[in-house]
């Protein structure tokens, strides 16, 4: 548990990638603290580096320079094995395209991260059923992703992200593929989770209606933070 109340700390983080023969500077020095239980929206034009940043926070990638600290643990120089464990225990991911495993049903999808956890806290199936019920999917437990609507799939994805009770939930355009109504349902679910579990939620979005429901909005442009607006102080 973070002693200073910070779930995520970014210290002067940069990231450059090789595209063909050129070096592309995607993130050009970002410093950002995110509090425990906070909902943070990241907005910005396409290609500004939002997803890349999410990847750095979630341990999908390591920064070129700077430090990324999750729950007081510096993950910037971790090897792949420890990053995997970190992702399993400390991070939950939700994607625009849901990315559920098409051959598994809702319960199996949700149970998956628990099955592959090295420090297992829950019984996979029981936990999966609980979480799905929490997200209002108690009647869709044995359905495959193909048999669910977009909004339902995204809620299954959220349940999967929460399976190991991670302190941080990363959502990359979670409503991007949904209609307004389903999008709002998903957003409501995220808020409920933050309230019940005190999970830190970071949402990348294009939708200003969604962004406005966060505690804070950060605007990214060309790899740097160009604006920051605090909406609610509750979780600071």
């Amino acid at each position: 548990m973070a002693t200073n109340g910070l779930a995520v700390q970014l210290e002067n983080v940069t990231k450059s990638v090789e595209v063909g023969e050129r070096h592309l500077h995607v993130i050009k020095g970002i410093t950002l603290n995110i509090h425990r239980g906070e909902i943070l929206s990241i907005i910005g034009p396409s290609g500004s580096g939002k997803s890349t940043l999410m990847g750095l926070i979630g341990g999908l990638d390591t920064p070129t320079t700077g430090r990324v600290i999750i729950d007081d643990i510096d993950i910037s120089r971790m090897n792949e094995g420890r990053l995997t464990q970190l992702r399993n225990e400390k991070i939950g991911f939700v994607f625009q395209l849901f990315h559920l495993i098409p051959t598994l049903n809702a319960v199996q999808n949700v149970a998956l991260p628990i099955r592959f956890s090295t420090r297992r806290q829950y019984d996979p199936t029981t936990r999966a059923v609980e979480l799905l019920a929490l997200l209002g999917l108690g009647h869709r437990l044995r359905h495959r992703p193909g048999q669910l609507s977009g909004g339902q799939q995204q809620r299954v994805a959220i349940a999967r992200a929460l399976a190991n009770d991670p302190p941080v939930l990363l959502c990359d355009e979670p409503t991007g593929n949904l209609d307004t109504k389903s999008g709002q349902q998903v957003m409501d679910a995220l808020k409920e989770i933050r309230r019940d579990l005190r999970t830190t939620v970071i949402i990348v979005t294009h939708d200003s209606l969604i962004a406005e429901q966060a505690d804070r909005i950060v605007t990214l442009e060309d790899g740097v933070i160009v604006a920051e607006r605090i909406i609610s102080e509750t979780y600071r």
């Binding site: 997803s51 999908l60 995997t84 992702r87 991911f93 395209l97 495993i101 051959t103 099955r115």
Partner: protein, 1085 residues
């Protein structure tokens, strides 16, 4: 456990959802496994036939042979031939006389009063009487087996309609024929037939399966011509009496107590009492046959494994596609906490499931195929009993699963390396590269696993015996101490991995532009570039050179020095031109090539150097047995590596050829352009797929074209070498009858219309006495054999070759009709002025030359006269030795030695025959004339001889042919798989095309065009390669003179077959794809 269950259910679901992709991948494995199972079952069937009913195979517990050529028999020249017991027939052969038979029978009855003793022979009195069946089309060979019909083993042999042979043969003119003879000559029970040498007609009383005689040493005659059984009383029917006392060729003994101890003690006693005999007992046969079947089984299994490995290509393709399509899913799995090795395991489980299911299907298919093979009569036209070989099925299954796992290993390792970050950019599906360590591990594992498979098949057959202090031939032909061998093999595995891994940084170097490299990097890059350029130019040069040679050979029917040098010049120019063009456009290709080649160089040389050092050390440390095992095992690995290098080289060549295809003008037709582009963009997979098809076509075309060209060659050469289209054989009879026969034959040939020319030949059976040098020194048989053994280090029985070739002399007319030949130094053909002179010409086959005989030497022979028992000695001067080293496949008939026909001082020849050229439409009249005037004559046509040669070639190539077809079928499965994969992958592209208004037919047309191009390419390459290989062989065998023996038709048919196979595969899979709805473009998978 729980996770494993997840892996299994998940993989199973994925495969189920995979549909066609899964189906064709299964087909690849199934085809390979089916090949293994069916061939192994065939092996078991052969083994069964050879090792059961040994007593029947041996025709008794003990079989007794007189001296003569053949395995296990004593050479006639090595024993004292007692004319009471033995009579001589043929050059080096003897048979038992009646008193010989009685003596052995009596001796046997002393040891076992209840024993049954019988005998058989193969022709009554005269070497050719009863060996030809007279038919409408002339004389046809049939193999006589003359038995005592009441000898228990023959008596109880059943005919095809269930009667006993002993019951149906009642009179001397009753015969029982084999089913193949019945088929060939259209005979059935009750038919009356004429056999040469007898006036009376014979009656067919029954038909037996050829199998009852097929598994004996008479194998060839039996399966080639068919045979008949007659009772020994048939002697009376044949109207010859040469005055000799020929009685039995073999003696059979059936003991009252067939226990091994009794059998061996009696057979040893017999051998002691009759030192000239050799015996074969049931246990001898068991041992000999199990050696034979062991070898056959290994060979057959190895051939099956090649099929399986071809199928493995399909597995690699499929697993790579599965992994590529699921990169996003893998990334997701990684974001939720699956480790790299867990992902690898997941996909490995998937490929193993593929392997298990595919192998199961393959086992079923294989058994079905084996049942089919049974009817196709693969094994020299013999029928085999169906045997369910539990071992074959198990082996096929295990091999299938293991090979799938091995081939799936690399793709699954790649799967483990997918970056989790991919999930944020789902549209990028580029597969990650393996790091050095992974490559090292992967290659080492693959090599070791395959090495173990090869070892499990071959065992220690190929590796050296560590106890013997022999030297070993290493990879490059240089010779190393055996200590090095182990090390080479052991470290080759590792070095192969290192070499392969060396590619990774090499390739990395290639991907970066030169500006970004440091000084060192740049120079390495240039080094690689240069190296690649040189090798590539040389490769192309060789390729074009070979193509040039084939082309000129086709045009001129001959490989000449001019043609070869012209091709070389063209090849060099073309090779340079293409290299130069490619160099200007795609420099990187050369760098890659250079890197790859460097990797291999490292792999081979590093392995050798390290290996020698370590091997020497280990050799001293390990205890003998363990060491032998290690050496055997490592030999397997070394073999796999060699194969791997070969395969990579071929894939490399294919890759370049596919690239070159893009340069072929497309005439601005968009469909062709698109097809070409599709081939080139997917060239990695296309070249892998081509490899599979090419191996299939290559083996098939090697077998069929080799057989075809041999047939054509023989057809063309037979008449030339014989000097005519008809051969007339007669038996000379006894006393002075032979002179009449010779005169009569001469007259008939002279007077019959349509005989364009002819030559008469007489054949004498002789005993070789000595070779006399010009300086008067004499060499005896044993000295000649020593010379041969020194010159030709082989295990084969050279002495019987000498006995046969120095055992008969032909008398030939010297009127200028003798063929023009090349002679060794100082030699010449017989001339008209040699008439009456004792001068001979010898056919200089390699073993004959090895005796050290020279032109100008003298050969001394004894001419025995069987009627009087007297010997006449004649001394001949050697005037010429022909140069036959390159013409050993020639179809000369007659003895190895010939002299002027009138130089034998009136001695009676054993046989009189003639070669004539007779006009086709006069043939039947000619036959009639000959038979009227020369009672004992048999008229053979070269057409018929050709048929025999063709049949022999067919039988020899039957098994390889089946294997090649299986390979091709597997190749076809791989193609189908590849087409299915590429169309699946291109659904989006197809959808786009259709949304742009391209019609279904046109889309289908493009897919088909693309695949027929691929098939054509495979056909050209496969058939082309085998032409290249064969041309070298032909040029060597036939001394550059091809004489139209290149089977152009077969080549074209094979290429068409290749196109047909890939078209079929394409049609099967592409129809659905071409129907893709344009809407699908919009949907995300």
């Amino acid at each position: 456990m729980e996770r494993l269950w997840f892996y299994i259910t998940h993989s199973w679901n994925d495969l189920r959802v995979g549909g066609k992709r899964t189906l064709f991948a299964l087909l690849c494995i199934a085809a390979g496994v089916a090949a293994v199972v069916s061939l192994q079952t065939l092996g078991a069937m052969i083994e069964h036939s050879l090792t059961t009913n040994l007593q029947e195979l041996n025709r008794g517990d003990i079989r007794v042979f007189p001296p003569g050529p053949g395995p296990g028999r004593k050479a006639r020249a090595d024993v004292r031939v007692d004319s009471r017991y033995l009579a001589t027939t043929g050059a080096a052969n003897t048979v038992f006389t009646e008193s010989g038979f009685l003596a052995i029978e009596q001796a046997t009855l002393q040891y076992d009063p209840d024993a049954e003793v019988s005998y058989r022979f193969f022709s009554p009195n005269d070497p050719i009487a009863g060996t030809f069946l007279e038919t409408e089309q002339g004389s046809r060979t049939i193999f006589p087996i003359i038995i005592e019909a009441d000898y228990s083993i023959y008596r109880d042999t059943l005919t095809v309609d269930g009667q006993k042979v002993g019951d149906v043969i009642e009179s001397p003119t009753d015969i029982v024929i084999s089913d193949n003879a019945a088929e060939d000559y259209g005979l059935s029970v009750g038919d009356r037939v004429q056999l040469n040498g007898a006036d009376e007609m014979f009656t067919v009383r029954g038909i037996v399966d050829r199998e009852v005689e097929a598994f004996t040493e008479n194998f060839f005659f039996v399966t080639l011509f068919g045979f008949y059984y007659a009772d020994s009383s048939v002697r009376e029917v044949f109207n010859f009496d040469s005055g000799s006392d020929i009685f039995a060729a073999e003696i059979f003994i059936n003991l009252s107590d067939p226990s091994p101890g009794q059998v061996s003690s009696i057979s040893q006693n017999l051998e002691r009492r009759f030192p000239f005999i050799s015996v074969s007992t049931t246990s001898d046969i068991r041992e000999r046959n199990s050696q034979l079947t062991g070898a056959v089984n290994d060979l057959v299994l190895l051939m099956g494994v090649v099929s399986l490995l071809i199928g493995g290509v399909g597995i690699v393709n499929t697993m790579f596609v599965i992994v590529t399509r699921r990169t996003t899913e893998i990334a997701v799995l990684k974001t939720i906490g699956l480790k790299a090795r867990q992902v690898t395991l997941l996909f490995l489980v998937e490929s193993i499931i593929l392997g298990v299911v595919g192998s199961l299907i393959g086992c079923v298919l294989g058994l079905a195929l084996a049942a089919l093979l049974e009817n196709f009569e693969v094994w020299f036209g013999t029928r085999l009993d169906w045997v369910f070989s539990y071992e074959a099925v198990l082996r096929g299954f295990i091999l299938g699963v293991v090979v799938t796992a091995i081939f799936g290993f690399l793709p699954t390792l790649v799967a483990g390396q997918v970056r989790p970050g991919n999930v944020l950019r789902p549209s990028t599906t580029r597969l990650p590269n393996l790091g050095i360590l992974q490559t090292l591990v992967a290659l080492s594992v693959i090599f070791t696993a395959l090495g173990v498979i090869v070892w499990s098949i071959l065992g220690g057959t190929l590796s050296p015996d560590v106890d013997s202090d022999t030297l070993l031939v290493a990879l490059d032909g240089s010779v190393l101490r055996f200590g090095g061998a182990l090390g080479i093999a052991l470290l080759l595995g590792l070095a192969a991995g290192i070499g392969g891994a060396a590619l990774a940084p090499g390739l990395d170097l290639v991907r970066r532009p030169p500006e970004q490299l440091g000084r060192a990097g740049r120079s390495v890059r240039y080094g690689l570039l240069l190296w690649g350029l040189v090798v590539q130019t040389v490769l192309q040069g060789v390729l074009f050179f070979s193509i040039g040679i084939v082309a000129t050979a086709l045009l001129q029917d001959k490989i000449t020095t001019e043609g070869a040098s012209l091709s070389l010049a063209v090849a060099v120019v073309l090779g340079l031109a293409i290299s130069f063009r490619t160099f200007r456009h795609q420099r990187n290709i050369f760098v890659i090539l250079g890197a790859v080649l460097l990797g291999f160089l490292l792999m081979l040389s590093g392995g050798m150097i390290l290996g020698t050092a370590l091997g020497a050390a280990l050799g001293a440390l390990l205890p003998g047995e363990l060491w032998q095992l290690a050496v055997d095992l490592m030999m397997g690995i070394a073999l796999v590596e060699l194969a791997f290098v070969a395969v990579i080289t071929v894939v490399g060549v294919l890759w370049f050829l596919v690239t070159l295809t893009a340069r072929v003008p497309a005439f601005d037709i968009p469909d062709i352009k698109i097809s070409f582009r599709a081939l080139v963009t997917n060239r990695n997979r296309v070249s892998m797929t081509l490899l599979a098809l090419v191996i299939g076509v290559l083996t098939l075309s090697l077998v069929t074209m080799f057989a075809d060209s041999l047939k054509q060659y023989f057809a063309l050469n037979l008449e030339d070498n014989l000097g005519g289209n008809v051969v007339v054989l007669t038996f000379s009879g006894s006393g002075s009858e032979w002179e009449t026969t010779l005169d009569n034959l001469d007259n008939v040939l002279d007077e019959t219309d349509g005989v364009e020319n002819y030559s008469l030949v007489t054949t004498y059976q002789v005993e070789f006495v000595a070779l006399e040098r010009q300086d008067g020194s004499r060499l005896k048989r044993t000295q000649l054999i020593e010379n041969m053994q020194a010159e030709l280090p082989t295990d084969e029985d050279i002495s019987s070759f000498l006995d046969v070739s120095f055992g008969s002399i032909d008398g030939r007319q010297t009127d200028g009709s003798l063929p023009v030949k090349e002679f060794l130094e100082g030699g010449r053909q017989l001339q008209p002025e040699d008439a009456g002179q004792q001068r001979i010409v010898i056919r200089g086959a390699r073993p004959i030359r090895a005796t050290g005989i020279k032109t100008g030497d003298f050969l001394i022979f004894n001419f025995p006269d069987p009627t009087t028992g007297q010997r006449r000695q004649l001394r001949f001067e050697v005037v010429g030795i022909t140069d036959e080293v390159r013409g050993e496949l020639g179809s000369d008939i007659g003895s190895f030695i010939y002299a002027p026909i009138d130089s034998f001082e009136g001695i009676r020849p054993e046989a009189i025959w003639s070669v004539a050229n007779v006009e086709e439409d006069q043939l039947s009249e000619f036959r009639g004339n000959v038979r009227q005037n020369v009672a004992t004559a048999v008229v053979l046509e070269t057409r018929f001889l050709n048929q025999i040669v063709n049949r022999l070639i067919d039988q020899f190539t039957a098994l390889p042919f089946v294997v090649a077809v299986l390979n091709l079928v597997t190749g076809g499965a791989v193609i189908a798989n590849s087409v299915a994969l590429s169309t699946l992958e291109r659904r989006r592209e197809i959808g786009v095309m259709k949304s742009l208004g391209v019609q279904r037919e046109r889309v289908l047309g493009m897919l088909l065009l693309e695949n027929s191009l691929m098939g054509l390419l495979a056909g050209i390459i496969g058939v082309g390669f085998s032409l290249l290989l064969l041309i070298q062989l032909w040029a060597f065998l036939f001394n550059g003179d091809l004489r139209g023996s290149i089977p152009v038709d077969t080549a074209l048919i094979l290429m068409a077959l290749c196109v047909a196979i890939s078209l079929l595969a394409a049609v099967l899979t592409a129809w659905g794809a071409s129907g893709e709805k344009p809407l699908n473009v919009l949907r995300n998978e």
